[in-house]
């Protein structure tokens, strides 16, 4: 997705930073000024300008806490406004996560804020650079998970380790996807869960980390320490703790809790990139899927659901392409057919062009058919499932196979989303 993101101070219109994604020229300063000027002009007349559309692009504005203006310009990919709003909210929360709300609301020194915001660039770029992302959490607002089998053992180790860290918040991440987490960790908001996982996966690989973070909803002004410790390649134990214990002490005690379940940790690492346990078998026509639990804010995605390489089965869609199709299908469905997930800090945005708001009923299922592939989606009270099929599956089978897949993925006693 080619996109520009501009961040300015609302008070003075001073540019704080701008990010560009895709092969496009940087925006001239005059254009940035105009984009901000249009918005300011509207607000002086008590009108809030939210979004507009050109022939091939969409522009959205967002003012956060009366101090930061975000302007997003993207190529029109047919996605709904809900997705754009969600992206802008995620960008601001990413800034809060690493800089803290106080420094964003009370801007005393613009130059200093600019310097501090530098550490958010990678996370924000990752949010903008959607198609290359291995996860779907940024889009769904629900954190990516891996479904392993030996979770009881790992849960026990995690609880012990988190308790040692004098905390109640902790999780085990497999390449940015949550495998097990404490109850309190699941109590974080969907956006917080997504951003923390994304932050850990965007940082350069390392043995351990100690990063001050502000929880955008839970604790936007008081920083906590996010400590991550790498157990084996791709698997990291994360805790959210206070001033003590130090990172050095956590690393020293690591073996005591994690040595016993080491083999389970290793086998957990093997689940990537399939992301769910091998004993769950789904239809061979499925090339990929995204399953979202809207209540628990968890999502499971896989574009390599078959143990063996399914590209041999006649489908020539690359894994990157599969992800791109699923993303696009999701964006076309959310807002246009299904109601978008509610954003906490966005209570009222007035009428939008989202078709879902004008529908009199709540659609349960939707599909799209193409020459090379087929997409089918269904939603229940809790789950939303988006499935990508190869072209060879007959139309009439789509519904029943999708329903059966949902059953397989959600009804297993050992592993549950």
């Amino acid at each position: 997705m080619a996109a520009y993101l501009l961040c300015l101070t609302t008070g003075g219109g001073v540019p704080l930073f701008s990010r560009t994604k895709g092969e496009i020229k940087t925006l001239p300063f005059a254009v940035i000024g105009t984009l901000n000027g249009v918005h300011m002009f509207a607000s002086t007349h008590n009108i809030e300008l939210l979004a507009t559309q050109t022939k091939d692009a969409k522009i959205a504005w967002k003012v956060c806490h009366g101090s930061i203006t975000l302007i997003l310009v993207t190529r029109d990919d047919g996605g709904s406004d809900a997705c754009l709003r969600h992206l802008l909210a995620a960008v601001f929360d990413a800034m809060v996560l690493l800089v803290g709300l106080d420094d964003l609301i009370n801007i005393k020194n613009v130059e200093r804020l600019k310097r501090e915001l530098k550490c958010c660039y990678k996370l924000i770029d990752c949010l903008l650079d959607q198609c290359n992302s291995q996860v779907f959490g940024d889009l769904t607002g629900a954190v990516d998970v891996v479904l392993g089998q030996e979770n009881t053992l790992l849960q026990g180790a995690l609880e012990g380790f988190v308790e040692y860290a004098d905390s109640t918040y902790g999780c085990l991440l497999v390449r940015g996807k949550v495998a097990v987490a404490t109850k309190k960790w699941w109590g974080l908001t969907g956006m917080e869960l997504v951003l923390i996982s994304l932050l850990v996966s965007t940082l350069p690989p390392g043995s351990s980390r100690d990063i001050p973070v502000f929880l955008p909803q839970g604790s936007p002004t008081v920083p906590h320490r996010l400590c991550t410790l790498q157990l084996t390649a791709g698997v990291e134990a994360c805790v959210l703790c206070g001033p003590a214990p130090s990172l050095a002490r956590l690393s020293d005690e690591l073996a005591r809790y994690w040595r016993p379940p080491y083999e389970s940790v290793r086998s957990l690492a093997q689940l990537h990139p399939r992301n769910f346990s091998h004993h769950l078998r789904i239809d061979p026509n499925i090339l990929g899927f995204v399953l979202v639990n809207t209540e628990a804010h968890r999502c499971l995605c896989s574009v390599q659901p078959r143990h063996e390489d399914s590209r041999r089965e006649g489908s020539n869609l690359s894994y990157t392409r599969r992800r791109a199709i699923l993303r696009s299908f999701y964006k076309h469905t959310i807002g246009h057919v299904y109601a978008p997930p509610r954003l906490k800090d966005d209570p009222n945005l007035g009428p939008t062009d989202d078709i879902s708001e004008r529908l009199l009923h709540r659609p349960q299922e939707t599909y799209m058919l193409f020459d090379a592939y087929k997409c089918y989606s269904l939603q229940t009270a809790v789950y939303r499932l988006f499935v990508l099929y190869g072209a060879q599956i007959p139309h009439y089978a789509l519904r029943s196979v999708t329903r059966k897949t949902l059953e397989i993925l959600t009804k297993d006693k050992q592993v549950r989303l």
């Binding site: 550490c119 351990s208 980390r209 920083p223 130090s246 990172l247 690591l254």
Partner: protein, 293 residues
């Protein structure tokens, strides 16, 4: 232990008399490379066998070890393990994180990004001692912290400095300011009297054409502060034709670092003497001679 304490007071007096930050000797002394460790050992048969424990089977890339894991040397080599904590320090944007990625065998990031807190990395390096012919597996735990985070949060600097065995100060060959700022930067982070190894690492050595710092200046710096200056190129080497290219590149830096750390241990254990101790010895000998005559 006692001797080192008394020696420190002596050292401070000398500073007072000479006065001025610029004349401070931060380091202990320079070691002729190869005095304690065999620098080319890793190219020998035995060295290559040992390197296998930290390399992937294709010999091009290094294995990355989680905190629960460690390399296993071939059983027939008797070896001992030592571990050190190394604080990576330097101005924002000089390439600390990239240099660390290079040293650890990780992918070197293509774009600069500010590290939001502390980021640590364990690097294993086997080396052979000159004196005893013993193989030692060095476990180097590097602690890297983003400059903005260091300034904003109070707990980060103490966490990095706590129990650190060495501090590696970074400057960039393409940024003269970062080189000129070194003495002041060092004075902020460490004092000459604390017992850490101090080394300087010049990053972005690949961009020699844009270099703002001359070799002459580096030599002068080394002599003045008694701190060795190492160099590293912050790019991934794509020529993988020669065996173990990546390891060849970082070997001089890791060997030097290990040699200085090993020497510090030997001094602490009383096996070796520092240059100043030797100086003092000589002076006291001279004093005695004066008394005799």
């Amino acid at each position: 232990m006692f001797s080192s304490v008394s020696y420190q007071t002596g050292c401070q007096e000398t500073h007072a008399s000479k006065s001025g930050l610029n004349l401070m000797k931060f380091g202990e002394m320079l070691i002729q490379p190869g005095t304690l460790l065999q620098y080319d050992w890793y190219k020998s048969w035995e060295g290559r066998e040992s390197l296998l424990s930290i390399l992937h089977r294709n010999m091009h890339h290094r294995k990355l070890f989680g905190l629960l894991e460690e390399p296993l040397l071939p059983v027939q080599f008797s070896s001992s393990d030592v571990q050190y904590k190394i604080f990576v320090s330097g101005r924002s944007g000089v390439g600390k994180t990239s240099a660390l990625a290079k040293l650890s065998g990780n992918e070197v990031p293509t774009m600069h990004s500010e590290t939001p807190g502390i980021q640590t990395q364990v690097v294993y390096w086997p080396a052979k001692l000159v004196q005893t012919n013993k193989i030692v597996m060095f476990r180097l735990h590097f602690w890297d912290a983003g400059d903005a985070a260091l300034k904003k949060f109070d707990h980060i600097l103490p966490a990095c400095k706590e129990n650190a065995d060495a501090v590696v100060f970074h400057f960039s060959f393409t940024d003269r300011g970062s080189f000129e700022d070194l003495p002041r930067h060092m004075a902020r982070i460490v004092s000459p009297s604390d017992n850490t190894c101090k080394l300087v690492l010049g990053t972005k050595y690949d961009q020699l054409a844009h270099s703002d710092v001359t070799h002459q200046e580096l030599r002068e710096f080394e002599q003045q502060y008694k701190i060795p200056v190492l160099k590293i190129a912050n790019i991934a080497n794509y020529e993988q034709s020669e065996l173990q290219t990546e390891v060849h590149e970082v070997a001089p830096v890791l060997n030097t670092l290990c040699e200085y750390l090993w020497r510090r241990d030997q001094v602490a254990a009383g096996v070796l003497q520092t240059e100043r101790q030797t100086d003092e010895q000589r002076h006291s000998d001279e004093d005695q001679m004066v008394l005799y005559f």
